[in-house]
């Protein structure tokens, strides 16, 4: 066993040769430099530092040109391809450099009925948007959810690009993410849209994300709802017509739209609602013919979704609550942020789970705090990502209330707040 492991380790450096490494270059918002010039400078930079360990981000440069034009150069998503942190020789791997500008303006809204301007039927972002910057990195999953999704959509767009006959091989461009609330389904959709816009910037000039408020598609007038859906998709169609744009349609909580049909059979839903579902389904069939569109949907309750819809989704990805390992990483990123903002002071380096494993979880001065964090993570199992991300805040608000604390005190507070969280949850279920 040990021998094979040793063999594997020797093999490993070779496996990372020739892998695709993505380099994202965030151009300053006021920089007008040409993409080619930036690419040249970034290549020079990568030549100087040609061995990296996993993801890496440069924010300061020796090069004056890069300093004035580029916010950051980051090597990203290496963990999606490589299981372990290992040295990557950039000179041997194929590099794809993506240079992007962030759009700073917020979402614009689309209204459907002209007489009531207040109801916003859809929010509409031009990607890559500053709002979603860093979202992808903040989402932590155990399984290869992120790489699956990325690969899926990349294949989809490749097939469309090469004009694969969709009568012979059919694919639908519909992604359904389901799972318990607070696991980051909607965030993942937004982050995915942002990521793909950056990845495919050589092909599409910009991305558009349209988030449909599904309840706004139900009209107050009987028989008008179906028309509202059609109107909505007409607007989307206009966006798709621009061949330089990559369009993402996000339908959140899709069960609210499609649950209606089964309820209709039970006689509890008016016939108008069923028209909405039918209209949505036919419209999705309509727009999926276009190569530059991806439909992202999320749902909390999969059983309630119409089968006709589930069938249309190519990828039905379950997003579950995070495991201990993922919780550990989430906490680690939170603590890192607090140290950056000097709320936790002095700075203390925590070990990752992998590093703990390497020292065999032996408790010593270096590993003590990390082991405590591991223990807290184990006890936090069952909490959703949304709850986990707010625990550091609650810990500070409830037990600390001072502008800076040591790591040790903070972890104790975090531990208390985790207990409290479970206690609150028990009380809630008891009272129901």
């Amino acid at each position: 066993m040990d021998e094979t492991a040793g063999d594997l380790k020797q093999e490993l450096p070779n496996t990372c040769d020739n892998i695709q490494i993505h380099v994202e270059v965030h151009q300053n918002s006021i920089s007008t430099a040409k993409k080619e010039d930036i690419r040249m400078s970034v290549l020079k930079l990568l030549n100087r530092h040609n061995i990296v360990f996993g993801d890496y981000k440069w924010t300061e440069f020796d090069d004056g040109f890069l300093n004035s034009n580029v916010q950051s150069v980051s090597i990203v998503d290496t963990e999606l391809k490589l299981k372990e942190r290992q040295p990557i020789d950039l000179s041997k791997s194929s590099l794809s450099i993506h240079i992007f500008h962030l759009n700073e303006e917020g979402p614009s809204s689309e209204n459907l009925e002209e007489d009531n301007e207040d109801i916003v039927a859809a929010n509409h972002w031009v990607l890559p948007a500053a709002e979603f910057h860093g979202l992808w990195e903040s989402l932590i999953y155990d399984t290869e959810v992120k790489s699956h999704l990325l690969d899926y959509v990349t294949t989809t767009l490749l097939f469309s690009d090469r004009n694969v006959d969709s009568n012979l091989i059919s694919w639908n461009r519909v992604v359904l993410l389901h799972g318990p609330p607070g696991t980051g389904k909607t965030s993942l959709c937004k982050a995915l849209a942002q990521k793909l816009t950056i990845r495919l910037s050589y092909r599409y000039k910009y991305g558009q994300l349209i988030e449909i408020n599904s309840h706004s598609l139900f009209s107050k007038w009987f028989s008008e709802s179906g028309k509202l859906v059609t109107k909505m998709f007409q607007k989307i169609q206009e966006l798709i017509d621009d061949k330089d744009a990559l369009v993402f349609v996000l339908i959140d909580e899709v069960e609210s739209l499609t649950a209606a049909r089964s309820a209709f059979k039970a006689g509890t839903e008016p016939s108008d609602a069923i028209r909405v579902v039918n209209a949505v389904l036919t419209q999705i069939d309509q727009i999926k013919r276009y190569p530059n569109v991806v439909i992202l949907t999320t749902s909390n309750i999969t059983e309630k979704i119409d089968m006709a819809f589930v069938d249309r989704a190519d990828i039905k990805q379950y997003i579950g609550p995070p495991s201990t390992a993922a919780i550990f990483r989430i906490y680690l990123s939170c603590l890192e942020e607090l140290m950056k903002c000097q709320i936790i002071y002095p700075r203390q380096q925590l070990l990752t789970l992998r590093e703990l494993e390497m020292i065999g979880f032996v408790e010593n001065n270096v590993s003590r705090l990390s082991l405590l964090l591991k223990e807290i993570s184990r006890r936090s199992e069952g909490l959703s990502g949304r709850v986990l991300r707010k625990l550091p805040f609650l810990a500070h608000a409830l037990y600390i209330q001072s502008p800076n604390v040591t790591m040790k005190t903070f972890l104790q507070a975090l531990s208390l707040v985790v207990d409290k969280q479970f206690e609150e949850r028990r009380k809630l279920t008891d009272s129901v």
Binding site: S29, T32, N111, K205, L239
Partner: protein, 272 residues
């Protein structure tokens, strides 16, 4: 959506069913049609108004055209209840002792919106002056509603054909502005349109890559949208132009280093 009349005129500008929108205003006496018109970009979809100035135009004048067109569009398309100058006069009056009566909250909100848009617009006009002093501006876009890539209405001011001259050797700004608006009124481009709800207005313009402007944000990937109602105003120069004035060039290579800049504020329209 665009008004029915506007939608019809779009795309099929030559259709006899379209409302009588002359592609160009009738030639004023003493005005000669110059050879430069042929060198301009192909006429885009939607109605277009062309104005030919009998001589070189200064940069300051070009800036005034953009500013005046912006103010005019905002008022004509119902984003401001009064023309800018009047609105500024009424809203920026220092409150007198008699005005201290308590107003209902709705009035307060409206006046807050009004103050906001006035402040934003004033800032915009100042920054337009700055960018026009730093670089040649071949094109200006005024985008109403939606987003910069999919606006509901689009107004384009095309200055590619303008010969920019020094202030002394150019035509007077006031007479040029008068001529521009005369052409706009004759073309009667606004009367057919339906009233619009209050929405956001984005201003974009092309400038030289290295002009060093800081307030405007470069949008290197930007492409002029093809959707929505569009009105193009083409400006060009003709007549006795001295050599010192920079002549317009129809070759695209000259404009290669000109990139789109977007104003970082959105002017939020309001109704009273």
């Amino acid at each position: 959506m665009a008004a029915p009349g506007g939608a019809e005129a779009e795309g099929v500008g030559a259709s006899p069913a379209a409302p009588p929108l002359p592609a160009e205003p009738p030639a004023a006496p003493g005005l000669t049609r110059g050879p430069h018109r042929g060198g301009m970009a192909a006429p885009p979809l939607g109605p277009a108004v062309s104005v030919v100035f009998p001589g070189a135009v200064s940069r300051e004048s070009c800036c005034r055209f953009a500013c005046e067109l912006l103010k005019h569009v905002l008022y004509q398309r119902h984003q401001l209840p009064l023309p800018y100058e009047q609105l500024a006069y009424f809203c920026r009056r220092p409150s007198q002792v008699g005005d201290m009566i308590k107003k209902p909250p709705s009035v307060d909100l409206a006046s807050k919106k009004c103050q906001q848009v006035l402040t934003d617009l004033e800032g915009m006009l100042q920054h337009l002056e700055v960018i026009f002093s730093l670089t040649l501006v071949p094109r200006v876009l005024i985008l109403l509603g939606g987003s910069a890539v999919s606006p509901k209405e689009l107004y384009e001011l095309n200055l590619e054909g303008v010969c920019v001259g020094s202030t002394e050797k150019s035509l007077k700004t006031t007479s040029c502005v008068r001529k521009l608006f005369h052409s706009l009124f004759i073309a009667d481009v606004f009367s057919e349109l339906k009233a619009l709800p209050a929405m956001g207005t984005v201003v974009m313009l092309q400038g030289h890559r290295d002009c060093g402007v800081e307030w405007f944000r470069p949008k290197l990937n930007y492409k002029v949208p093809t959707r929505g109602r569009k009105l193009t105003v083409n400006l060009s120069c003709d007549g006795d132009i001295s050599i010192s004035a920079s002549a317009p060039s129809s070759t695209t290579s000259v404009w290669e280093d000109y990139v789109w800049f977007q104003a970082p504020v959105t002017l939020k329209g309001f109704h009273e």
